[in-house]
């Protein structure tokens, strides 16, 4: 197999993420590409349609605070034990972004629909919820297999780009994602996939059956960039925990627009990432 030029510099790798694109990113504990997110802030990306699968924390808050997001589609944004996500909250109250409230399995299902190349998939629940009420793009049908059995159909979400951070990739673009299999679904659903990784694995991840079981094939991967501690200050499963001190600092600074601006100046532009 030929090694295509998959491994690139971070900015080169992120080039397919353009203003206005439909970008899907993983939840706060599955390998959030924070170094890449800071690079997108520095580039001044605008008007993203951000799908956080199925929730987000610092990443969505940072992108929203910096004015990068036009539409946000997710089930929740919160800093967890560090409190509400302040820029998300401010943006909703100030109506500066379009919010598409969802529920976790609805987003998983909509990405799986794209993965399977079908226009929709059904999901139980939702009927009688205001989540459904405010989603004109979701439909209720009477199941043809039931007897007066209403069920919700969710349209497929086909992202332009899937972006995530993972422990390692090889030079063939194969990315080891381990148990975070929603990353594979994101990649299958998206037009292009960009991964940042802690390190490059020598050899081919698909050659070892044990590693291969946790590998997203390079076939789906547009580009890979190496970013050591690229999820910081969020955790990378089995590799490092969240930097709670930093998240508490963020929660405090981002409570005001001025404090957020200062945070961005200090931690995004001056690249004070660990």
């Amino acid at each position: 197999m030929t090694a295509f030029q998959t491994v690139k510099s971070l900015d080169e790798a992120l080039a397919p993420i353009v203003d206005g694109c439909l970008l899907v990113v993983p939840r706060e504990v599955s390998g959030v590409p924070m170094a890449a997110t800071r690079a997108l802030l520095r580039r001044g990306i605008k008007n993203l349609h951000l799908v956080a699968l199925p929730t987000s924390s610092l990443q969505a808050d940072l992108l929203i605070g910096a004015g990068c997001v036009g539409t946000l589609e997710t089930s929740a944004v919160s800093l967890g034990e560090y409190g509400p996500a302040p820029r998300f909250t401010a943006a909703i109250l100030g109506r500066s972004i379009t919010m598409k409230d969802a529920t976790c399995p609805a987003l998983h299902t909509a990405l799986q629909a794209a993965e399977k190349g079908v226009p929709f998939m059904p999901l139980r629940g939702l009927i009688g919820s205001d989540v459904l009420k405010y989603r004109d793009d979701w439909k209720v049908i009477d199941s043809p297999f039931g007897n007066d059995d209403p069920i919700v159909l969710l349209p497929a979400i086909k992202p332009d780009v899937a972006l995530f951070h993972a422990p390692m990739a090889d030079r063939f673009g194969n990315v080891w994602i381990g148990r975070q299999r929603e990353l594979a679904t994101m990649a299958h659903a998206a037009e292009k996939t960009i991964a940042t990784v802690e390190k490059i694995h020598d050899g081919n991840l698909l050659d070892d059956p044990v590693l291969a079981a946790g590998t997203l094939p390079g076939f789906y991967v547009e580009s890979v960039a190496v970013c050591a501690r690229g999820a910081w200050p969020l955790p990378l499963p089995d590799h490092y925990s969240a930097d709670g001190e930093h998240l508490a600092l963020y929660a405090k600074m981002a409570a005001t627009a001025e404090g957020f601006a200062e945070y961005v100046e200090r931690y995004v532009y001056e690249r004070k990432a660990a």
């Binding site: 919160s78 109250l93 139980r124 919820s129 679904t185």
Partner: protein, 248 residues
């Protein structure tokens, strides 16, 4: 309030009893008291129920990604789950989204998470809210993240069975809450005063029973050290268990 146990211990003991004899209890993020209860139930049941604590590598088995929790619930393989709400109303509706008009909210919460699915498919959902006030327990939620009950033709094997707060325990059936017991140090009058919705209030309401010495011993000596992996601060504050160092 009686000083030989902490309020968290009372709540965990009550929740463990609500869990009952089931196969699988799952506990969402940032829920140390339900997590304590689930681990307590597992100790009492000698390994049953299976306990999944979201966010704990040691206490989750998921290997199919973030969707597995919801798939598992959809399969009927999660018997008990816990939900809360920025607002909860007397019909068991929960609001995790916003206060005021949805398009022009006055307050925004994080969002509905998986509630709009899990509340429908998990047989026993235990509602949990430690702030028992007219602000949180309201006549009618401003946004229904997930309804307490559904029309007869809506697929709904699951739903709320109870609401436990810092003041009392309610059961939920036939679309309404019934006051079951009031925690030591609290009164029925205080519950009425602080509850924004109507509920069934029996003529005589018992005090929530204190955890037995055996339960307290089990919680403190066996459960607390397990809890410390995921909730080090909570384990330290409530049970005085040492904080584990984070792996890096």
């Amino acid at each position: 309030m009686n000083a030989n146990f902490r309020p968290e211990e009372l709540l965990a003991d009550q929740i463990a009893q609500l869990i009952g004899d089931v196969r699988h209890v799952a506990v969402g993020n940032a829920s140390p008291i339900p997590a304590t209860a689930a681990l307590l139930a597992r100790e009492r049941g000698n390994g049953r129920p299976y306990v999944s604590l979201l966010g704990s590598p040691k206490n989750t088995f998921w290997t199919d990604g973030a969707r597995e929790l919801f798939d598992c619930a959809g399969q009927g393989r999660i018997d008990v789950f816990f939900l809360s709400g920025g607002q909860i109303d007397g019909q068991g509706n929960i609001n995790l989204v916003s206060i005021g008009d949805y398009d022009q909210p006055k307050v925004r919460f994080p969002g509905s998470f998986g509630s709009a699915h899990l509340y429908y498919v998990v047989p026993k959902v235990i509602l949990f809210r430690t702030e028992h006030s007219r602000r949180t327990l309201v006549p009618r939620v401003d946004f229904v993240s997930a309804p307490g009950a559904s029309a007869a033709n809506v697929y709904r094997p699951g739903g709320p069975v109870a609401l436990i707060t810092n003041r009392c325990l309610f059961s939920f059936a036939q679309g309404r809450f019934t006051l079951v017991s009031v925690h030591p140090g609290h009164t029925v009058a205080e519950v009425v005063e602080n509850t924004g919705f109507d509920f069934v209030c029996p003529a005589s309401v018992p005090e929530t029973p204190a955890p037995s010495p055996a339960t307290l011993k089990l919680m403190r000596e066996v459960v607390a050290p397990q809890l410390a992996e995921l909730y080090p601060q909570f384990a330290a504050q409530v049970f005085g268990v040492g904080t584990a160092a984070f792996a890096d």
